[in-house]
Symmetry: C2
Subunit: 476 residues, 2 copies
C-alpha cells in the first residue's frame, strides 16, 4: 500500500497497472491473459451491474441464461460472424474423458446460441418483441491483454432482442445506446461521443453498430459500449420467422448490445491520478472514510466518541467507514484511502472536537473545508455531489482541449504521431483507405458522431467531398 | 399453456419436466446436457441469489471473480480432488487457432485456482480470515442430466475461506450450513435435515462435508447444499502458509460451500402439484395476480376501474399484476397463473364490485375467501404469510410421514424397493459396506444427522454396535 505509484508522465501503462494491483482491484491469474477480479474491484462492477440492470428492466428487458458452450457449426451459420470471431475462440474438444464428436467453442458472444432458441420460441407476432438480457462470462483469445481493458475472459452483459419490424429494431438499438451513454455520463462521470461505426469497424454480423467513445488521460480513445442493429442476418441464419398480423410469415429483426468489465478499466483511466484511484461517488464501494487524529489516550476517547457519532449520522445515507485501526498513523491512513479512491475523507482531531468542527477533504481536488459537526451530513452530501459533477466536467474539459478539427493528411499524421487526442476530420474513404489510415498512423476511425452540424468539406485522405466529420484516434 | 400436465401419480419425472417446460422455467439447449434458463425461471434464481448474497455479506463475506479455466496440472495437486473431478471435466485444448501447450479444464469447482491465488495474498495472520464468495457458472460432464437438477453446466455460488485455526474453519463450515438450512426453511419453505456425509460421500478433497438433505414428493432425497471443512489439504497442495502471531509459519485452514440452480429444481419438486408450479411467496417473481370478470362493456369499465384501484394499493408491498388481456377468458387466465405458480389470485366480478368485496384464491390449497375491498391489503399479506408457512408445514408433515426407523436389512431393502422414503437405520459399516448397500438397494447414506438423540443399536448391515442412526434413501 505504501509503495509509490509510477507517475502518469513517466509511464502511463505502468501507472495504470500499479493502480489496479495496489488498490487491489484485480490481479494476474495463472491462466493466459486472464485476471482475477478482487473484492474491491468486483464491488465496483457490482455497483455498475445494479444500476444498469435497473435501467434494462425499466426499458422492458428481462434476464435469462444461455449455455457457455456453442457448437462450432452454429458459428458458421452467419458468414461475417464466423470470420470475425472464429480466430479468437477457445475450443473444447474433450469432455467426460472422451473426444467430442463436434467441438464446442466457449462463447465469444451469444448471438448464435440465442437465435437457435429464438427459433423455437418465436412463432407469432404475439411473441414479439422479445427483450432478453444476459449477465455472463465470455472468452476471446486475445494476444495482447491488459487488466480489465482486454482479457481473454471477461464479464459482461449482452442484450438480444427480436422485433417484428426494422423500425422497431433500429429504435431499440438507439435506445440502448442512449441508456449506455446516460450511464457513462451520470454514473461513471465519463463524457462519451455517441456515434456510428464504419463498415470496417462494425460488429461481425451487424448491419449497423453504434458506439460510445470516451477519451482516456493519455488522449487515447476507449470504446465503452456498443449497440448493434443486426437486421435480419441472424434470423436468416437460424430461420427465425413469425406469422404476422397480416397472415404472412416474415423474418424477425434483431439487435444486440453489451458493456463489459472493461468499463472498470475506463473508470480507472479516466479519473485517477498519481496518488492512486479516483472514483465517482456513484460507483465508490466506500464513499466516506473518517480518520480520527489523537496523541494521548484521553484524546483518543474524546475523538473516537465524536467520530462514531458522525459515522452513525452518515451511515443512513452513505457508505461510510470509521478507520479506528490502532497500528497505523493518520498519514498512512490518508495515503491508503487516497490510493483506494474513497471520494471523501473526514479528519477529526481534539481541536476539531473542541470547536465542534470536522474537516472534509475531497479526493478529486484535495480541497479541504471545515464544517460544523451538526451540518456534516448535508455538507458531505453536497461535497459528494460536487465530486461527481466535478469529475465529469474535468474529463469533458480534457476531451475538448484535446479534440481538434484537422483538414490535411500530413497534419493528421503529425497530430496522431504525438498522441494529440481526437482528430475530427472529413472522411469519404472506403475500407481500403481506412486500412491504409491505420497502417500509416496506428489510429482508426472511432466513430461517425451522431450529433454534429452538417459541414461541407473534403476527405482528409482521398479529397472526395464529405458533409461531416469523423473521430480519428488511437484506441485501447 | 393450456396443455395438460402429466399427473404425478402417472409419471413423476414426466410431471416434473412438463412443469419446467410449460411454466417456461427452462428449456433444453442444443448443447449436450445443458439447459437454457428462461426469464421466469431465472427470476426465481435471481431472488434466491439476492437473499443468499445478503446473508453472505451479513456473515462477513465479500464477492470476487476467478477465471473459468483451470490449468490441468492444478487439479492434480490435490490427490482426492483430481480423482473426484477429472473424469467429468470439459477440456479446452485449442485456442486462438492453435493447440495449447497445457490444456485447461473448465472449472468443475474453483478450489485449485482460488488457492493458487491465496498463496499470493496470504502472508501473515493479519490477512486472515479471508472470506470470499463467487457467483459463477461451472461445468461437470454428467451422463444423465435433468433440467435444473443435474446439467452439465450450472450456475452456483462457491464460498472459499481461509483461516488461522482449525476451530475457526470448523465454525465457518458449520455457520454456512446454518445459513443454507435457514434459507431452505424460511425462504424455500423446504424442511431439511442437517447432517454429515460419510467418507464415501464427502467432497473430493474435504476432511468433512456437511449437507442439508430434503425430501421430494416422490420420497427421494435431494441434497440441497453442502459445506466442507477442507482442513489443510488445499493449503498443503498450494503451499499456502502464514506467519502467525507467535512468529511461526503455519499452513492455512480452509472451507468451501455452495448451492446451485439445482435449488430451483428442488423448489419445483417439493411444492408443485398436478395443476402446475406452486411457489412460496418469498421466491415468487409475481406474488399476486388480479383477474377481472365481466360480460359486457359496462361491467368491464366498472370492474377494471376497481381492479386497478386494488392493484395500486397492493403494488407498494407486493409484486402484483392486473391481467386485463382482452383475448382470454377468466378460466383460461386462472389455469395459466396456476400453472405459473402465482401464490395468490384475486377475482373480481360485477357483483363483487357492487358488494365491495373481492375473492382471494390461494394457489397452494385452492382455498377461497371473500374479503372487503378496504381490507384487501392486510388480507393479502396475511394469506401470503399463511401460504409460506403452510407450504413448509405440508412438506415437513410429508417428510415425517415418510421417514421410518428400520432395524433389519431385509426390511430396509423392501422399504427402499417400494420407494418408501427416508429410512433411519443404525450404521457402523465401512465404505465397502456402503458400496454394497448402494448396489443392492440403489440407495445411499444421505447423511448422519447432526441433531439426534443417542440411541444404542446395531448396524443394519454388519450388526456392529452403533450409537446413532443415519438417513438412507434413494436420491437425485
Amino acid at each position: 500500500m505504501s509503495k509509490e505509484i509510477t507517475p502518469r508522465a513517466e509511464d502511463y501503462s505502468r501507472w495504470y497497472q500499479d493502480i489496479v494491483l495496489r488498490a487491489e482491484l484485480a490481479d494476474y491469474a495463472p491462466v493466459k491473459g486472464c485476471m482475477v477480479i478482487r473484492p474491491y474491484g468486483f464491488a465496483i462492477w457490482e455497483k455498475m451491474q445494479a444500476i444498469l440492470d435497473r435501467k434494462f428492466r425499466d426499458t422492458g428487458h428481462v434476464n435469462a441464461y444461455f449455455p457457455l458452450l456453442i457448437p462450432e457449426s452454429f458459428l458458421r451459420k452467419e458468414a461475417e460472424h464466423v470470420e470475425g470471431f472464429s480466430p479468437e475462440c477457445a475450443v473444447v474438444t474433450h469432455a467426460g474423458g472422451a473426444k467430442l464428436e463436434e467441438p464446442y467453442v466457449i462463447r465469444p458472444t451469444s448471438e448464435t446460441i440465442i437465435w437457435s432458441m429464438y427459433r423455437k420460441w418465436i412463432q407469432s407476432y404475439r411473441d414479439l418483441p422479445l427483450l432478453i438480457n444476459q449477465w455472463c462470462n465470455v472468452m476471446r483469445w486475445e494476444l495482447r491483454t491488459r487488466l480489465f481493458l482486454r482479457t481473454t475472459e471477461f464479464l459482461w452483459q449482452e442484450g438480444h432482442t427480436a422485433h417484428a419490424t426494422e423500425e422497431e429494431a433500429e429504435r431499440e438499438a438507439r435506445q440502448m445506446l442512449e441508456v449506455y451513454s446516460e450511464f457513462a455520463r451520470s454514473t461513471m462521470a465519463l463524457p462519451v461521443i455517441e456515434g456510428l461505426k464504419t463498415d470496417r469497424e462494425k460488429f461481425a454480423g451487424a448491419v449497423r453498430t453504434y458506439t460510445i467513445e470516451s477519451m482516456m488521460q493519455d488522449r487515447k480513445a476507449l470504446q465503452a459500449g456498443t449497440s448493434h442493429n443486426l437486421g435480419q442476418n441472424f434470423a436468416r441464419a437460424f430461420e427465425v420467422t413469425f406469422l404476422d398480423q397480416d397472415g404472412e410469415r416474415k423474418l424477425v429483426w434483431a439487435t444486440s448490445w453489451g458493456v463489459s468489465t472493461r468499463l472498470v478499466g475506463a473508470l480507472i483511466m479516466a479519473h485517477s491520478d498519481d496518488r492512486g484511484l479516483v472514483l465517482p461517488p456513484a460507483l465508490a464501494p466506500l464513499e466516506i472514510v473518517i480518520v480520527p487524529i489523537y496523541r494521548s489516550d484521553e484524546e483518543r476517547g474524546l475523538v473516537l466518541e465524536k467520530a462514531e457519532q458522525i459515522r452513525r449520522e452518515l451511515a443512513g445515507k452513505h457508505t461510510v467507514k470509521l478507520d479506528d485501526r490502532e497500528q497505523f498513523k493518520p498519514g498512512f491512513k490518508f495515503s491508503e484511502w487516497e490510493m483506494r479512491g474513497v471520494p471523501l475523507r473526514l479528519e477529526l482531531g481534539p481541536r476539531d472536537v473542541a470547536s465542534g468542527q470536522v474537516v472534509l477533504v475531497r479526493r478529486d481536488t484535495g480541497g479541504k473545508e471545515s464544517v460544523a459537526v451538526e451540518s456534516v451530513s448535508s455538507a458531505a452530501g453536497m461535497a459528494l455531489q460536487e465530486i461527481q459533477q466535478g469529475l465529469y466536467k474535468r474529463a469533458l474539459a480534457f476531451r475538448e482541449e484535446n479534440s481538434v478539427k484537422i483538414d490535411g493528411y500530413g497534419e493528421l499524421k503529425e497530430f496522431l504521431a504525438r498522441d494529440g487526442g481526437f482528430a475530427l476530420v472529413h472522411w469519404a474513404g472506403d475500407s481500403a483507405d481506412e486500412e491504409r489510415l491505420q497502417e500509416e498512423t496506428k489510429a482508426t476511425i472511432r466513430c461517425i458522431p451522431l450529433s454534429q452540424e452538417k459541414e461541407a468539406g473534403r476527405c482528409v485522405m482521398t479529397g472526395k467531398p464529405s458533409n461531416g466529420r469523423v473521430v480519428v484516434a488511437k484506441a485501447y
